[in-house]
């Protein structure tokens, strides 16, 4: 078999090129993903792990009752929550309910060691802290793609497919309640679809408390189909439903009959000091006003 140097180099470079391409392949089909488990005890264990962290809460400062949003002056709904710290004992049931409602994935050991859990509710000194859905949200101002956007219903919404993972919003959030998907939870078998209504998030996407937007959307669409005015009466977030002491109250700030407006009547309304000027929708109740 005679082969010229030219032919040999040709074949050799082709083979090398082929091998290089083979090395760059997507190998998801060849290293099978670990079997995803939907065993709730795994999430319960992770929540316990997360609650052992010592995250400082900072000071709570009194604020005025949230009113209509300056961005949407004509809207008749502004949803929010009040967490009664006189009743709350920091049991963490709300975190589990939130995880199961919103299909929040677990993190791998490396992330867990760094204390970077995906839970939308965090216990800081025994106080549940989640996104406050600020009326004047600093996260929305820095999002380069408009994935973090204000909703006319008072939520600070997150449109996952728009998110390119710049993490500017997380950096600009004073309360540090935004969570970034550092790991591909689906590929590592760390996520489960407990609730078919909520999509799973991909790697490289920021997420946070959505104020159970899926429940509000479902209720709104039903009301609109039946031709009724929608004030969100009867809708509750997963954490408010799960709280064994009923310390979390969900409702409409602009509806004087909503359970939220009833619950805050005559109470001291507080928020984290870091976001006191940002018109938060999720507040804490302490003592009498």
């Amino acid at each position: 078999m005679d082969q010229s140097r030219r032919d040999f180099l040709k074949v050799a470079s082709l083979v090398l090129g082929g091998l290089a391409l083979w090395g760059c392949r997507r190998n998801k089909n060849f290293s099978p993903a670990p079997k995803a488990s939907s065993d709730i005890s795994l999430w319960k264990f992770e929540i316990k792990q997360a609650m052992r962290r010592n995250i400082p809460l900072g000071d709570l400062v009194p604020i005025k009752i949230p009113g209509p949003l300056p961005k949407f002056p004509k809207e008749i709904n502004r949803f929010g929550m009040a967490i009664d710290l006189d009743i709350c004992n920091g049991c963490g049931e709300c975190i589990l309910a939130c995880v199961l409602e919103n299909n929040i994935s677990r993190v791998n050991d490396c992330e867990a060691q760094k204390g970077r859990f995906m839970h939308w509710i965090e216990m800081r000194e025994g106080v549940p802290v989640m996104c406050s859905h600020c009326g004047d949200a600093p996260c929305e101002k820095v999002c380069p793609t408009g994935a973090a956007v204000a909703s006319p219903d008072g939520m600070s919404a997150m449109i996952y497919p728009r998110c390119i993972g710049s993490r500017y919003c997380g950096a600009n959030c004073p309360s540090k309640t935004r969570k970034f998907n550092y790991t591909d939870a689906r590929a590592e078998g760390l996520s489960a679809k407990f609730n078919p209504e909520v999509p799973l998030r991909n790697r490289g996407v920021m997420e946070k408390c959505s104020l159970c937007v899926q429940r509000l959307q479902n209720d709104r669409l039903l009301a609109k189909t039946l031709g009724k005015e929608w004030r969100g009466m009867g809708v509750q977030s997963a954490c408010a439903m799960a709280c064994p002491k009923k310390a979390i109250v969900f409702g409409n700030w602009l509806d004087s009959e909503s359970p939220l407006s009833q619950a805050v009547r005559g109470r001291g309304i507080y928020t984290l000091k870091s976001i006191q000027g940002l018109d938060p929708s999720v507040v804490y109740l302490v003592g009498r006003a």
Partner: protein, 171 residues
């Protein structure tokens, strides 16, 4: 010669890899056209004048428009309706049909909500998105891009303007 063989081998391998990727990749959207009985929308809709919601229950008030079960077909087809020559063929097809003859998966991605009831309430006909009966019989399935949703929601397609806020339709 040796080089050509190697090249062929690598080429086949590459094609196999791409095929494997296509075959094993699973998204939120699965389109399946798994019909066991050839169903004519023209015959039922245009000729007899049945409303779409008669079989696709839920389209008027619900979130999803559902597909009929075999029992729903048999509600009318238990006894022969005409003297047509195709009746025995239909009867034998109905006998072997599964309890749920049509299995379809929604094409709407998981992060989008589309409520049929709200759109029916706004007097938007099924044809606006799903196409005419003839098109549906030819196998067309509604495939709407976000731009088309938005054009209609902005009031550019002759219907009243609707919400264009992201969180109204995305979750």
């Amino acid at each position: 010669m040796k080089g050509t063989l190697l090249l062929c081998f690598l080429g086949c391998f590459g094609i196999a890899l791409i095929a494997a990727d296509l075959f094993f990749s699973t998204g939120d959207v699965i389109a399946s056209k798994n019909k066991t009985i050839a169903f004519s929308h023209e015959l039922h809709g245009a000729n007899i004048g049945l409303d779409c919601t008669h079989c696709h229950t839920g389209a008027r008030l619900g979130y999803k428009a559902h597909f009929p079960s075999k029992q729903d077909c048999l509600d009318c087809h238990r006894l022969p309706l005409t003297d047509s020559a195709g009746i025995p063929k239909l009867d034998s097809a109905l006998q072997v049909a599964k309890a749920m003859p049509w299995q379809t998966e929604s094409r709407v991605p998981a992060h989008v909500i589309f409520h049929h009831g709200v759109h029916a309430k706004a007097n938007i006909s099924c044809e606006t998105c799903h196409g005419s009966i003839a098109e549906i019989d030819r196998g067309k399935r509604a495939s709407v891009k976000m731009g088309e949703c938005l054009a209609c929601h902005r009031g550019e397609k002759g219907f009243a303007p609707a919400a264009t806020d992201c969180a109204r339709c995305h979750r």
